[in-house]
């Protein structure tokens, strides 16, 4: 599935749309940034509740292409600014990490 389909197919709200739409290589779900650092794949989507700038930094360094913030966590403007600078797509959902991950996984298989 493509990054834009996180919005069009699954219904996550897109907060940062300045990104290059590409096919997702996979996904990773974690709130521990060192864990993300160690395990997230390049070109994948990160599912997390850790809504701050460090998450964008980690995503950028590991090559994560899109971030989904769960549980409607408030996302600060500095997070969006950092993500737009790095060209990383940002989405928000009221779903838990579990539900968001399950939804993405279903679509990734197709």
């Amino acid at each position: 599935m493509k990054i834009s389909e996180l919005e069009s197919e699954i219904g996550f709200e897109c907060l940062q749309a300045e990104y290059e739409d590409a096919v997702l290589s996979g996904g990773y779900t974690s709130d521990l940034l060192s864990d993300v650092m160690a395990n997230a794949e390049e070109g994948s989507v990160l599912v997390t509740i850790q809504a701050h700038k460090n998450t964008v930094a980690v995503a950028s360094l590991t090559g994560v292409a899109a971030i989904v913030f769960c549980n409607n966590r408030p996302v600060g403007e500095e997070v969006i600014d950092a993500a737009s600078q790095e060209g990383i797509a940002v989405f928000l959902t009221g779903d838990s990490q579990f539900l968001a991950t399950a939804a993405i996984a279903r679509h990734l298989e197709q």
Partner: protein
């Protein structure tokens, strides 16, 4: 690149990099005059006078048990007790330093304690040398002139523009999560612009980011240095304290001393140092409570071989 090296800020930071890069054993005086417990203050006076030194360690079976300084000698002289055994006048609580510590630890020790010299011991706790400010000054002058010569050479034969070579140092401050990550991003961009493969860049980024966050989250402040050549990226992290009590524990995945606030920032999973080690081809850590921690990670640019997923 040579322009960058000539910037005054960068070059003064090179001095810092230098004091971290040198080991105490490379700087200390190897020839130590020591006395045994039953020597007299008069013996010490003769040794000090003949060798123009200001402190003599007292040893028992190569172990340092005390030190007699000029001050102790003057006190004994004043009281007319020059034939007393040294143990009556020496300072018994001696702060020693280990020979394999970085020079920066010795410099912190001079700031922390009132002593003018520190006996240096090896792993077996045996006396192997002594360090004074004079040793440090001489070593710095020697190293700085060597570096100056190198820089002059570089100016005469400037490296070509596509060269990878870079020396850069970043200062990091406690709890400044705002800027933690900046150095890693810059270095990542630098390597990307020069066509380094994304796999290698990722390894450099992981090591550098974890070290950066460690400095911000756990140290009272420090620096992160990058020394890049065509063959390798060397990342050095140095801080001024507090130092790690148990390095083996700190290297264990899952062990963390992070507080709630650090955790709320998404860190403190106890994966930082293990992550750095896992992505590095060479890894070294040295820490001393009260003096600081030094970590060095090297990633070779010609070996994509190291499998990142292989758990260390």
């Amino acid at each position: 690149m040579s322009e960058e090296r000539m910037q005054p800020l960068q070059s003064s930071l090179r001095v810092q990099e230098l004091i971290y890069g040198l080991r105490i054993s490379e700087v200390m005086t190897n020839k130590v005059f020591a006395v045994s417990r039953n020597c007299t203050m008069r013996d010490v006076r003769i040794i000090m006078k003949e060798n123009a030194i200001s402190g003599v360690p007292v040893v028992d079976n190569k172990r340092v048990v005390g030190i007699v300084t000029m001050n102790d000698l003057m006190n004994a002289l004043e009281k007319g007790r020059m034939d007393d055994c040294v143990i009556l006048w020496m300072a018994g609580e001696v702060q020693t330093l280990a020979e394999d510590m970085p020079l920066s630890f010795a410099i912190s020790a001079f700031g922390k304690f009132p002593f003018r010299q520190f006996p240096i011991v090896n792993k077996k706790n045996e006396l192997v040398g002594i360090i004074t400010f004079r040793n440090i000054n001489l070593a710095l002058i020697r190293e700085l002139s060597r570096q100056l010569r190198e820089m002059e050479n570089q100016q005469e034969n400037p490296a070509d523009e596509n060269s990878l070579a870079l020396v850069k140092v970043y200062q990091l401050h406690r709890y400044d999560f705002e800027n933690g990550g900046k150095a890693s991003s810059e270095i990542k961009r630098y390597l990307k612009e020069r066509g380094i493969s994304s796999k290698l860049i990722r390894r450099v980024a992981v090591a550098s980011y974890e070290l950066e966050i460690n400095l911000v989250a756990h140290s009272i402040g420090g620096m992160l240095g990058f020394d890049i050549t065509k063959d390798r990226v060397k990342i050095s992290s140095h801080d001024r304290g507090p130092g790690i009590e148990d390095v083996d524990k700190a290297m264990t995945e899952g062990f963390s001393t992070a507080n709630e606030w650090i955790r709320s920032q998404g860190f403190g999973a106890g994966m930082g140092l293990p992550n750095v080690k896992r992505v590095s081809d060479e890894f070294a850590i040295k820490s001393s409570v009260g003096m600081g921690t030094m970590v060095q990670a090297i990633i070779y640019l010609n070996s994509e071989e190291k499998n990142e997923d292989q758990r260390a």
